[in-house]
Symmetry: C2
Subunit: 515 residues, 2 copies
């Protein structure tokens, strides 16, 4: 096995009367040559006993290294044939859920994965509530302690469950949105949500774990992915790394659909990023029926080819209790393709017939009858919800159009890959999203779901030191576009509010189905 | 007053919707521009409250900065009109004596100076004894504690005596020989004295004061001058800085005479260094009468022009109790110029007459009669002491000749300046040293005493950030010559053992006196 990660067995040049360079500098030289490194930082604690250890070990050592923005850090020096496990932890610092992975830094194998709800949810479910809370006396410290304690507890548990101890963890990498990253570091975050939306820090240094209160190896180092701004976080840079967008020869696009749609388009030559409001209907919790995934939630909807009835699938196949975002996109597509929804996005009374009820002048489409429902009530979608979804899908398409066509000067067809990132994105059925005109009508093989890119990026960095330079290069070179909602945007948006679009020629595959 | 040091009032660009760079990165930018800096490191503790403080202070701050090998460190950020004293401490980490100076980092004025005997003398007076002790269990920690406790105690005292508190000290710079530097950092030093004489570290990083146990401002940073090798320490680099040798257009020479003669010759274009044994007679403590300076010690000797008697001066003009190194050089010169010492360095019975006594077959020159002596005994110089001094002066001249002529390919006359560094060197009378053929016969204005160069270099760094780069450049570019004692050296050495030299043409000014 040729070592490629941050743990390598190094052989230091032996000193002689003709080579009286100090031990530390001879160690630095071999690190510089092994890692193509510049400056090397050896902590005082390791320096103190370096001479006797190098001699005892025959001028060989198994070294654990890591990167900082300005140098390489010697994390620890072990006996060359040491069998001590040397682990790294990758952390997706999600607003809702934190997912962590344990990596063997020598073999680069993944050993375990665990997830838990972000304990900051006790303060508030969303970023905004938490940042407001962080501005109260003691609030920041409390939020910081919540997430750090949670990470400490679950890292310890994950280690023990897999036959390790927490002291085996020498490196921790993490990615999250800008606010979550700030709260993880315990640094003031409230300017993030106040105009002009300024983070405290774009590029955090690599910090000793102890400084962050992380209870792992006392020599461990911690690095969090940098951000581009308050609304373009390290999670997005992790996404670019996961999709290798910064290494592609042809342009690719990545979209992370949440409350905001964060979009990156580019290749090895250039990267453009933009974050825009995709609208509330795409995330559970805002729409009356929108729900986060749990048993009984409708996650897929389709049209039975024979009966033309709508068919549903629920999580764990339990009785339906509501619908989640991806299910809602399926539902809208099914309603439109079956004629129940017209091109203006309004329910068609002619087609829906008794699937529609009207309460207080608002029409509701009954997806599940009260007798089949797990709640004892109809599961419905109102015209109001529908309008909200229409706005959302139009916003998403318009943002994609603006960034791909107006900003990058490309056509959708020029995109080699269309990556969908984020938990929500993982569940979207591209066919449905294309059918309603939310995503462009590209060949299905163009679409690729990246899954948990924050975790993926953090893991990739633990396995490959080169990723660090890529992260810094991405941060340095990316052009961040503040989405300009002007008259031209509104004109484009108006067209995109139709199903799939006023210009149906843009969706040839849907045209075929509708015929 | 235009600030030039490490403390500057910085104005940070205000954020706006068009400039959403994070606070930390906007601070970095102004530091990079103000100091022509590369990477900037902001400690986590300062990052945590950066946004609120920048806003409260109107985007201005009085910043205390410092350098590390790989970056600039933000030591502290103060309110822009803060009146808190911001001090630096420069430390000469001498084997025998530690001298410290307090500097106002804003005005670059010197506020106080203090000195005390290196408390490690309790373990042993010399480097060798201490390093052997450091290799015993607990020895290194004890030696380290002795020096650090001493520095802490005297810094605190010096601060209080001058109306400051120790927390006012934000920076500490120190220079000393390689062994003293290692013991100050608490890092293993024993390989320094074992072939092939390898220091643990050539270039120590800048360390937080707390890591070194220094009880000053908790945010303070500490930097010790780097070394070239075990026998060419940071004290010598400090000397080069003091003499500005690295900035001279014509070659200059600096010699630090101690137990070893450490020599640097060079200019802005090149620097050659060499360390060689100058022999024991030049330092007090080895020769029977050689003493370190204290009241009653003979520090100057000269010939009365009328009586041709030897005249003496003692420190504090007390009754003579012995002679120090510089006095011994004066004495040898006086003996030689008065004919009491022949060109072979032997006492002349014809001239000395009853100034000589013989005990156990060894001749002693009576410098002070027992009746005039403070000890009640004759103060004498034996032929054995004299031979030892002859070897020392010959060694010194030969080393100078080898490095200037054979290595650098220059003549002594090419030297623009001949700097004498070190405490001992400060007291040497160049005329005497030339008379005995220890130093080359150059115009007296060529010689310049630099005084305490370790302290001088450490102070210079506190006042001027550019010095840091000069130190690193010196360390990088200096060529260290291991003195090769071969047949050619021994031939040159033989000639130099005569007074002033077998080739008297080299000392025209002495030739004139002798005529």
């Amino acid at each position: 096995m040729i070592p490629t990660g941050f743990v390598r067995t190094l052989e230091i040049e032996r000193p002689s009367l003709n080579n009286n360079t100090a031990d530390a500098q001879r160690l630095e030289r071999v690190i510089q040559s092994e890692f193509s490194a510049g400056h090397v930082r050896i902590p005082l604690a390791l320096l103190k006993t370096l001479p006797s250890r190098l001699r005892k070990w025959g001028y060989k050592t198994k070294a654990v290294l890591f990167k900082d923005t300005d140098s390489w850090i010697v994390v620890d020096l072990l006996e060359p044939r040491s069998q001590t496990p040397i682990l790294g932890a990758a952390v997706d610092i999600g607003t809702t859920r934190i997912v962590m992975s344990l990596i063997n830094l020598e073999t680069c194998n993944e050993l375990a994965e665990t997830g838990f709800d972000n304990p900051q949810a006790a303060i508030g479910p969303d970023v905004l509530t938490r940042i407001h809370y962080s501005n109260k006396p003691g609030g920041l410290v409390e939020l910081n302690r919540l997430v750090i304690d949670g990470v400490n507890f679950h890292l310890d548990q994950m280690c023990r469950e897999n036959g390790y101890v927490k002291e085996d963890i020498y490196l921790l990498t993490g990615a999250g949105n800008t606010a979550m990253t700030h709260l993880f570091l315990g640094i003031e975050a409230f300017e993030i949500i106040k105009e002009p939306y300024i983070p405290c820090v774009n590029i955090p240094n690599t910090f000793p774990a102890g400084q962050l209160g992380l209870d792992i190896n006392p020599k461990a180092q911690v690095f969090l992915f940098p951000n581009i701004g308050s609304y373009f976080g390290g999670d997005l840079i992790a996404g670019i790394i996961c999709g290798d967008i910064d290494q592609k020869t042809s342009p690719c696009l990545m979209v992370d659909v949440g409350t905001n749609a964060e979009i990156v388009v580019g290749s090895q030559d250039w990267l453009i990023a933009c974050a825009g409001a995709a609208g509330p209907a795409l995330e559970g919790g805002v729409s009356k029926m929108g729900m986060t995934a749990k048993p009984g939630v409708i996650d897929r909807v389709w049209i039975d080819p024979e009966s033309k009835n709508l068919e549903i699938h629920t999580i764990d196949e339990e009785k339906p209790i509501g619908i989640c975002g991806s299910g809602m996109i399926d539902l809208a597509a099914s309603l439109f393709l079956s004629g129940r929804l017209n091109i203006q996005g309004r329910f068609s009374e002619d087609i829906c017939k008794d699937e529609l009820i009207e309460i207080d002048g608002i029409q509701y489409f009954i997806l599940v009858d009260q007798h089949a429902s797990g709640t004892g009530e109809h599961i419905t979608l109102s015209q109001v919800d529908m309008n909200s979804l229409t706005s959302s899908k139009a916003a998403m398409y318009t943002i994609l159009e603006v960034i791909v066509k107006n900003t990058a000067g490309l056509e959708f067809e020029d995109l080699e890959k269309f990556y969908v990132a984020g938990t929500f994105g993982s569940f979207i059925n591209p066919v449905s999203a294309i059918s309603i005109g939310m995503l462009p009508d590209l060949p299905l093989e163009t679409f690729e779901v990246l899954g948990n890119t924050s975790l993926g990026g953090a893991k990739a960095l633990l396995k490959n030191p080169d990723i660090f330079e890529r992260i810094m290069k991405i941060r340095q070179s990316i052009t961040y576009i503040e989405l300009n909602v002007n008259q031209e945007f509104m004109n484009m948006f108006s067209g995109a509010k139709f199903y799939p679009h006023t210009d149906r020629a843009r969706f040839p595959s849907i045209k075929v189905i509708l015929k």
